[in-house]
């Protein structure tokens, strides 16, 4: 059942999930696999449906008869009973290491602590498209679960053979196979001893349904949590290799600038420093960062710069530079908007905007690169280790199997670490130095040379009938993307379209992609329509909604928040917003306090209801949901990248405001556990309702409709009476 439902998640075309051609190498042949892990029992999971296949690639390197295509995960039970599960997914704070280990332990019937997860190492783990799009739970979790189920079957079979009984009556629990008829038992360790048994996963192996989970579904603490409170965990910037140098890169003065003159004479005396000039790339590696920086400062360069637009003209620029001729993939048309508008008693046209914002992960982009006998090993904080491997192989003309990328558990990413920039820089410097080189970007570099959440303009034309029923919905998104561009409301006449434009800054994935922009425009517009219809904003939404899962989260958020609420003080306001995306359903209620004299806006309270199918770890999920809501406050209220002439003008935390302790309201997460539905991801969707709920609450409080994100970077305009 679980796997059938899975197929219904079809990722929509999304231009900002960077896509790279998957490469197909895996150098660990089966013999080596057991040599590496020791004897025991191994199970290889094979992608069985189209969605999983889309995110994986045929694995070559093994002989075809040994392994089929599209291996997605594997696990191994060692002679000491240790279970090791392998996945290309990356731990970036979303707690996937713990959730996936729970899944394996649950299905294999072993204690949680006996499961070790090997993640994101291109030499050890199967190809993976990347830790993106909230896909780890819906795709990787079922695959590991099926691998664990198959391993359990192998163990039952081995015990049956040992005892010369039928397998059917035997039970698996707590790391042992028991024969209830005689009470005798064999531990998994005993059954794995002396074996090198490998099996490809039978595609129809049944797995344990959520209502029978014993380890999944529980609030198990983060794996290896202790190593984080002691400082013991090594993030990429903490790695030290023998003889390692520290690298720095000379950045152009502005985006798109080209090098016209280079004079490195004054560095010739710096015998300890390795300088690399390769096209427009200029870098230095030295025994410490300061020496490397000094060397770069001693180089005289001149650059040709190109005139560029600024954040002041951003939204008119995006509209003016829209590219003509989108195709059917970027357009959804149903009925006739013209007729829908003609039959409406009330029309509304409005334009909404969202600014560029930065991910600003606290661990900046970083990499350590080490060459040995023509092979390259790189440690880097990336959401896409296999794509980074391919980038490196491509740039340095290596076969992919000669490049190994390892991702240590990383200091967050939020969609911002899909590319291999720091990895390439470190590898280039290390090749010249003949020693390992580490590159850690400064905060300024991180704010400037990473990529941004795309800015966007959303235009909506809508109509409602006299009873508050939607009759027409025309929605255009310029630049920010297609995620959640469709309306979840029932509207007979729709025209929804995404327009690509020339984009002034390097843009890419961000937690939730364009859904934050599209939710903001749609849910604020719905609020405006509700007021025009003189209906309560929740009532208006429910009136136009048939999706039961969305209704359920809206009702759950409203109930816990106490919607509708009576205002008890001046400046108080309440807002609501909801929607679904990536298999998760979210609704957020917000309360704000607005001071019309000072322009101050304070978010007092947020209640977010979230439903993502069967919950695997309620504690981890709550942490994600509350964290997403708090991070979402930044983009909602004050975060915006400012730029002029190819330069970011606020590239540091003293100028780019992010949410801090005092910004945090009372945040409540209401989690709906649907044990009848497969688990979806939770890293992204919970952020999406925050901005519109706050925008709607500000209108409720002050009667001012704000249609741009961030809503109040400098406070609300003060009314002069």
């Amino acid at each position: 059942m679980m796997n059938e439902t899975l197929v219904t998640f079809v990722p929509e075309p999304e231009r900002y999930e960077f896509s790279a051609e998957p490469m197909h190498h895996f150098e660990l042949a089966r013999r080596d696999f057991f040599k590496f892990l020791g004897a025991g029992i191994a199970v290889f999971a094979v992608a069985k449906n189209s969605v999983a296949k889309q995110e994986t690639a045929p694995t070559h390197g093994f002989h075809q008869e040994e392994l089929p295509e599209a291996i997605t995960a594997w696990l191994h039970i060692g002679e000491d009973g240790t279970v090791t599960a392998f996945t290309g997914k990356v731990e970036i704070g979303q707690n996937i290491r713990t959730s996936l280990a729970q899944t394996v332990a649950d299905e294999l019937r072993v204690p949680f602590d006996t499961v070790r997860m090997v993640t994101a190492d291109t030499a050890l783990t199967p190809f993976d498209f990347g830790t993106v799009g909230s896909r780890s739970m819906p795709t990787m979790s079922p695959q590991l679960r099926r691998a664990a189920a198959a391993a359990r079957d192998l163990l039952v079979g081995a015990a049956a053979k040992e005892w010369n009984v039928a397998a059917e009556g035997l039970t698996a629990a707590d790391g042992k196979i028991t024969d209830p008829a005689t009470g005798r038992a064999l531990r998994y360790a005993e059954l794995a001893r002396g074996k090198t048994l490998a099996q490809n996963l039978p595609s129809e192996d049944p797995v344990t349904p959520p209502n029978e989970w014993t380890i999944a579904g529980k609030a198990i603490p983060k794996k290896d949590a202790c190593s984080f409170v002691t400082g013991e965990h090594k993030y990429t910037p903490d790695l030290r290799r023998p003889g390692m140098l520290y690298g720095k890169v000379l950045r152009p003065p502005s985006f798109g600038a080209t090098l016209t003159s280079y004079d490195g004479k004054s560095t010739q005396a710096m015998s300890e420093v390795v300088i690399v000039r390769d096209g427009d790339f200029i870098g230095a590696a030295a025994s410490n960062e300061r020496e490397a920086s000094k060397a770069l400062e001693a180089i005289h360069t001149e650059w040709k710069e190109v005139p560029q637009t600024s954040s002041k003209e951003l939204f008119s620029y995006l509209k003016q530079n829209a590219k003509a001729g989108g195709d059917d993939r970027s357009r959804r048309i149903k009925g006739s908007v013209e007729n829908g508008l003609a039959s409406a008693t009330h029309h509304l046209d409005a334009t909404y905007t969202v600014a560029f914002i930065a991910h600003a992960p606290l661990e900046p982009r970083a990499a350590v690169a080490e060459w040995s006998e023509g092979k390259l090993t790189v440690w880097t904080g990336s959401q896409r280790p296999f794509a980074v491997r391919d980038e490196l192989a491509d740039v340095f003309h290596l076969a992919a199997q000669n490049v190994r990328v390892i991702v240590p558990d990383t200091g967050s990413a939020y969609g911002g670490k899909h590319t291999g920039d720091a990895a390439l820089e470190a590898a280039r410097l290390a090749r010249a130095a003949g020693r390992p080189v580490q590159v850690v970007w400064t905060r300024d570099e991180e704010f400037t040379w990473a990529y941004f959440r795309p800015a966007g303009v959303m235009e909506i034309k809508s109509g409602i009938a006299g009873d508050g029923t939607l009759t027409a919905w025309e929605f255009h998104n310029y630049n920010s993307g297609m995620s959640a561009i469709e309306t979840p409301y029932v509207v007979p006449n729709q025209h929804i379209e995404f327009h690509t434009t020339q984009c002034p800054l390097r843009s890419g994935s961000y937690r939730g992609l364009a859904a934050t922009a599209n939710f903001f425009a749609r849910e604020c517009h719905m609020d405006e329509l509700a007021r025009a219809a003189e209906l309560d904003p929740l009532e208006f939404r429910l009136k136009n909604l048939s999706d039961p899962r969305l209704r359920a989260v809206l009702e759950a958020a409203a109930k816990s928040f106490g919607w509708p609420r009576k205002k008890t003080q001046t400046g108080q306001g309440f807002g609501i917003a909801g929607g679904f995306e990536k298999g998760g359903y979210v609704a957020t209620c917000a309360e704000v306090a607005v001071d019309r004299n000072s322009g101050g806006v304070r978010v007092v309270r947020i209640t977010t209801a979230f439903e993502c199918g069967a919950i695997v770890n309620p504690d981890g999920l709550r942490n994600q949901v509350i964290g997403a809501n708090i991070q979402g406050l930044g983009g909602a209220l004050f975060e915006a990248i400012e730029f002029e002439n190819g330069r970011i003008t606020n590239p540091r935390f003293s100028r780019y405001r992010v949410p801090r302790f005092r910004d945090v309201p009372d945040v409540e997460a209401v989690l709906l556990d649907r044990k009848d539905l497969p688990s979806a991801g939770a890293g992204e969707t919970p952020i999406m309702g925050v901005a519109p709920a706050i925008g709607n609450a500000i209108f409720d409080a002050a009667g001012v409709r704000l249609r741009g994100l961030p809503l109040v970077p400098g406070g609300l305009p003060v009314t002069r009476s």
Binding site: I92, G93, Q94, N95, P221, K222, A225, C226, F228, V229, T230, G231, E232, H233, K234, Y235, P237, D238, R240, Y246, N288, E289, R290, A360, P361, L362, E363, P364, D409, T410, G411, S412, Y414, V440, T442, R443, D444, D619, N623, Q624, I626, G627, A628, N629, I630, Q631, L633, R652, F653, S654, V658, P659, R660, F661, R662, V664, V667
Partner: protein
């Protein structure tokens, strides 16, 4: 020019060879391999690099190593005593007060220093004091809760 500078870190004496204006953060991480102290911004704005200098939380990216020579330094590596986590570390662990945990060292050191000076803090004081520490994952409510819990534990144990 680089000359030897003596530092007292986590009760041990170290000598580093670096220029006097080198940030303490670089000396800890790159000279002494004490990498539990993190770089986050280099301008004293995020708190990831917080250490205790003479018992007071300071941003190690803003302190020249020469200025750190006079006082004992405590980093995250030096909080455990006799194989036991510091009550603040334990409280963070119990509350699950992290996601990616990159800010955790700085949050813990800031809190240890704060609780030393304010053993019975009001909630608002905790929030006020930690205003200079960024958790980009937004784990703030759990961190505040961990600090309150640690304060209680330390008072009960007479460690306040």
């Amino acid at each position: 020019m680089a000359k030897p500078i003596e530092l007292e870190i986590n009760g041990k004496r170290y000598q580093v060879q670096c220029e006097p204006e080198t940030p303490l953060l670089s000396a800890l991480r790159d000279e002494l391999n004490l990498t539990g102290t993190k770089y986050g911004c280099g301008e004293g704005q995020c708190g990831a690099c917080t250490v205790l200098l003479g018992g007071t939380p300071r941003r190690s990216c803003q302190i020249p190593v020469s200025a750190a020579a006079a006082k004992p330094i405590t980093t995250i590596e030096g909080l455990e005593k006799d194989g036991h986590l510091h009550p603040v570390q334990q409280a963070f662990l119990d509350a699950g007060a992290f996601q990616c945990a990159y800010c955790t060292s700085g949050m813990i050191l800031s809190s240890v220093g704060f609780l030393k000076a304010n053993p019975r803090p009001a909630s608002a004081e905790v929030i006020q004091f930690l205003q200079g520490n960024i958790c980009r994952c937004g784990t703030y409510p759990r961190i505040a809760e961990a600090v309150r819990q640690a304060a209680m534990t330390m008072l009960e144990a007479g460690q306040g």
